[in-house]
Amino acid sequence: MSDTDKQVLLEVKGLTMDFGGLRAVDSIDLSVSEGEIAALIGPNGAGKTTFFNCVTGIYTPTAGDILLHPKGKPTRRVNGSKPNKVTTLGMARTFQNIRLFPDMTVLENVMIGRHCRTRTGLTGAILRGAAARKEEQEIVEFSYCLLEKVGLDEFANEYSKNLPYGAQRRLEIARAMATEPFLLLLDEPAAGMNPQETTDLDALICRIRDEEQIAILLIEHDMKLVMNISDKIHVMEYGKKIATGTPNEIKDNPKVIEAYLGEEAEA
């Protein structure tokens, strides 16, 4: 798979983020293309999540450019845009520490994702006219379909806080997908999952890419998962990008092994 025939969706140039004196992210260049599953890996504290937060508008980066190229729409620079703006443009995310809405049902969590794609206002909600009812029906159906896709349909009316851990992670993915993104950012989707769940997740992510045509950028520590599904892997250490390549290239890259296992990795 070469990059040339695929359109680039997200392009990050020289992204830098300082916290006080600490440079958490140091001039990172990175791009994600259509139909790609890209992984961002690196030891703990390398700045991966900070990178995500900058890209999705939760932090305003110190320097650099974040460019979104939605299909058929003009390119947008989203540095410092509000997170909801970024999501509306078509880039949705999940969180490292699951951030569901615990006191809402599973279905409602997904329905929240539909918010930015629907229009019913106050009057619509109060009067419940035909248009509003129709839209509401559509939201419910769309969300329910998504739940079926991630295999949570039978829990639709449960409170999300009562779901098992792995299911909560999948719910977060469904919720993000409800915003109809063209690019999905997943922050450690496999964390806390057991091996079976991880395998299922593996398949789910590939399905999302193939069936929904959504490109994916994920942060992950589970190397098996990363190596299995990624088209391209970016490795970060100390806020800098130290390697980019296919899983095989990364596997044998001494710099990467060193980053993970420690300096003298002669073993």
Binding site: T49, N53, I58, F95, Q96
Partner: protein, 300 residues
């Protein structure tokens, strides 16, 4: 110019009382992120206990400074006891509850304590004896600053210095700071966090009691309701200065006191409270965490 100085000193006096009470709010908030709404009531109880002690001692024939000292001490002791019990009863069972719960509990406690004093004592205003003597040497400038104001300023200053020393150098002070900065790390170095929280309530209550006794003997009256407005103002001061920050509370108290004094003096006292809260809104718009408050970045 003299008028300016008068207003300045008046504002300083008022502000230093606000600061004393605000410290209780800010220290508690700093550690457990709770607005202790009933703190104003602790201040009131301090003043009331002092009133009762003074009354009894006067009637049984004690005189002068001894009354002041005994009444002040007992006021502090009782306020501390109330503060301690308050935390145990109304807040500790809610340590892990959602944020709104302890706040509602605090509002409930505030209503409870007010009415408790009302029922146990009286709804009337009671005359608080002027415990602070008029000093001879103050007489020439008595029209600018009276002895009670001087005593309030000096006492506050001394209290603040003592508090600073306590926080800075004593074991418990350090434990309080450590708990505030990182509660679970504090437990990891062996600090009994529950005890630190209790101590914080006790110290805050002591400061409030000192404020209560000073104010009551300055204006010469007590009533079950005096805690409410004082509490709201002091809380405003704490937020103004940056809640959680000890120097912030002092600064906030002084800024608020001076603002009110100058606003009343140069503009009109009709809108005294409007100026106070207007200033608060203004500062929070410019600095959402208060003057000396640190903006905490939420971890994602």
């Amino acid at each position: 110019m003299e008028y300016f100085i008068e207003l300045f000193l008046g504002g300083l006096t008022r502000g230093s009382i606000y600061a004393l009470i605000a410290l209780g709010y800010t220290m508690v908030y700093g550690i457990i992120q709770l607005i202790n709404f009933a703190h104003g009531e602790i201040y009131m109880i301090g003043a009331f206990v002092a009133y009762i002690v003074c009354g009894v001692l006067t009637i049984y024939g004690f005189h002068g400074v001894s009354i002041l000292i005994i009444a002040g001490l007992l006021a502090v002791v009782y306020s501390c006891a109330y503060g301690y019990t308050l935390e145990k009863v109304a807040y500790r069972p809610l340590r892990n509850a959602p944020r709104l719960s302890p706040l509602i509990s605090a509002i409930g406690m505030s209503i409870f304590l007010q009415n408790y004093v009302l029922l146990a004592q009286t709804p009337d205003f009671l005359p608080f004896p002027a415990l602070i003597p008029d000093f001879e040497f103050m007489e020439p400038i008595a029209h600018i600053i009276g002895s009670p104001e001087l005593v309030i300023l000096v006492t506050t200053l001394v209290t603040m210095i003592m508090l600073t020393l306590l926080i800075k150098y004593t074991k418990i002070g350090k434990a309080m700071r450590a708990t505030q900065q990182d509660m679970s790390m504090a437990r990891l170095v062996g600090i009994n966090v529950d005890r630190v929280i209790s101590t914080t309530f006790v110290i805050g209550s002591a400061l409030a009691a000192i404020g209560g006794v000073l104010v009551a003997s300055y204006i010469g009256q007590v009533n079950f309701y005096i805690g409410f407005l004082a509490g709201v103002k002091a809380f405003t001061a704490a937020v103004l200065g940056g809640i959680g920050s000890v120097p912030g509370a002092v600064l906030g108290g002084l800024v608020l006191g001076l603002t009110e004094s100058f606003a009343a003096g140069y503009i009109s006292s009709d809108y005294e409270d409007v100026f106070a809260f207007g200033l608060l809104v203004l500062i929070l718009i410019l600095r959402p965490a208060g003057i000396l408050g640190r903006a905490t970045k939420q971890k994602v």
